[in-house]
Structure formats: C-alpha cells, structure tokens
Amino acid sequence: MSEVRRARVAPIVVLVVAALMGGMLWVLASGDGGDDAEAGIIDSHLLDRAAPEVRSSLLDGGSFELSRRKGSWVVLNFFNSTCVPCRAEHPELVKFVEQQASLGPLGAEFYTVVQIGDDLDEVRRFFDERGGDWPVLTDENGEVFVDFGVAQVPETFIIDPNGVVRVRWAGVIDAVTLAQLVQQLRNATGL
C-alpha cells in the first residue's frame, strides 16, 4: 500500500473504531441499572391484557380462582412477611380495605399473594398481630409471581371487572393513592 493511500485509509479506520467504541459506551451509559427502588406505576407485559389465570390455595383453607372474581375490581398485593417495605405498607393496606368495604358491592376486592419460601406460620402471625382479614393466597409453585413478572415485593396490581390488568405499582403504596387509582380507573373505564 502506498504512503498516500495509507494516509487516506488510516483516518477512516480510526473513525470507524472510534464510532464503535462510542456506540458501546452509549449502550453502557444508557443501560437500565435495574435498581430503581422508587415506588410508582411501572410497565408490565400484562397491562391492558387479560390477567393470567390464577388458581391458588388460600392460607386459611379453600381455593381461589381469579377468573371467578370477574365483575369486581380486584387488587392483588404481592407480599413477603420478612420484607421491610411490606411491613411498612401493611397499615395502609388495612385502611384501603376498610375504605373499599365502606363502598359496599362497588368496593374493590383485595388479596395478598405470599411469595414462595415465606414461612406460612409467620404470615399467619403477621396478620394476627397487624390486622387485615382479607384472603391471603399462597404461591407454592411460583406461578402467580412468575406469570405477573414480580421479582421484588411489594408490588400491587389492579385488575378491572373484565379481568384486564390496568395498573402495576412497584414498591410501597399508601391507602389514598391506591383508592384514587381505583377510582380513576372506574371513572375512565365506566366499569
């Protein structure tokens, strides 16, 4: 290769290498750290889609089928009794359930789904000590958590009376926010 030709090609090679390195840096810099601890509404593969089929056992006996809850607004709260944010959130959930109960048949139904590996006796003790008399679902085969894509607790899903997932909330939620979300969805959907 002549010197002249080499002098022409070298800057192009440098530019290509620099562009590749810049691209890699951009991908690294714009990547999601995956450690967003802030609470709020997040995306879900289930949003505006039919909720997965949930068949589960209740902590105090009996069975649960989500599809049989159609006709009511349903709130699913994913929980672990050893999780500190879950403990902090619990009094707010008690308030929310009481507030919804005051609405009569229009009130949303509330269910807790217990994460696999949690000690069910501890869960019973938790509810005995801190209140909350709503149904508690076990997830011994992990399907409910996996179908909803829940990796960290607490998380809360709101499902409309047609069985469509409307909101996914990651992290701690308070009673007022949850009640407002349900009401906004009621108004928006007319359901």
């Binding site: 999601d32 995956g34 593969h45 672990n80 994460q115 696999i116 590996g117 949690d118 997830d139 011994e140 085969n141 992990g142 399907e143 958590f145 996996v146 179908d147 909803f148 894509g149 829940v150 990796a151 960290q152």
Partner: protein, 164 residues
C-alpha cells in the same frame, strides 16, 4: 500416510474441527428427565434481581419462584423449553435471558465475533502475503556479480578459514 504428511497441517486441523463441530451439533442428547429439563431451562435464565447469577444458581426468592414455576410447566408437559424461557423473559424482561437470541439486534452478539474472526483472518492472510513478497527480493546486478564471482572462486578462495 505419505500423502497425508504432504497436506498442510492447518488443513488437517480445519477438517478435524469441522468434523467435531458437526458431530457435536447434531448429536442427540437423548431423553431427559423432568429435573434435567428444569435444570437446563433455569441455567438459560438470569436471576431478575441479582447480578451475575442464573436462576439455577440463585437462592433469591424470585429465582426460587421461577424454578418452581418451570417445574410446574415441565410437569404439565405442554410447553417446550424455548416456550418456557420465552414466557419467563416476557414476564421479567429481556435482561433475564442469559443466552442472546439469534435474531434482531441481539444477533449482533453472535455475528460480531464471527465478523471479527473473518476480518482478522483476511487481515493476517494479506499481511503474510505482503511479508512474503517483501522477503522474496529480486537479485540486482550487484547480487549477480557477487554470485558470479563466487562461482568463479574469487570470493571463496580469498576467504580465510576462521578455524585457522
């Protein structure tokens, strides 16, 4: 055997590698137990909330849930390994896929190393040819004169024996 010795060693090496790859990629792994399927599938998935661990290795509850769910899906016998992996990846996000797909943007992960290998091979080939050409110098008149003189005995006869 004599013929084989004449072959360049790299041709033999390439043939051997190609043959072994062909054998390895088409070899039937045989029937697998449900537990083996669970193990293989969970090794293809990354723990959704811990860095650098597969679902198979992780002791996190979310990984435990995924393992348990995989076990259930396998026991139901309706979904293939790929379908199970796809459903978990859909639920938890693309980050949970340890082995990148061979389509779309992720295919670059497979294509770029292969492209780099091809480019490097071509570059080496060109460089070797150039070096070889540079080494093969054409004799000029001075060289020829030197050789002629050597053949005539002028140079060799004039050299002293260094051992003396």
């Amino acid at each position: 055997m004599q013929g084989l010795k004449r072959w360049p060693s790299w041709v033999v090496l390439v043939l051997a590698v190609a043959g072994l790859l062909a054998y390895g990629s088409t070899k039937d792994a045989g029937a697998r137990t449900p537990e083996e399927r669970v193990e293989e599938i969970s090794k293809r998935l990354a723990c959704p909330i811990c860095d650098g661990e597969s679902v198979y290795e992780s002791q996190n509850p979310s990984s435990a849930a995924i393992r348990a769910a995989i076990r259930t899906y396998v026991a139901e016998g309706e979904a293939s390994d790929d379908q199970i992996v796809a459903s978990v990846v859909e639920a938890f996000g693309a980050e949970t896929q340890l082995v990148p797909k061979a389509t779309g943007f992720e295919a670059l992960v497979w294509a770029l190393p292969a492209a780099a290998l091809v480019c490097a091979s071509v570059g080496l080939f060109v460089a070797f040819r150039r070096w070889k050409a540079a080494a093969d110098t054409i004799p000029d008149d001075d060289d020829r004169a030197l050789v002629d003189a050597a053949l005539a005995g002028d140079v060799l006869a004039g050299d002293e024996d260094p051992s003396k």
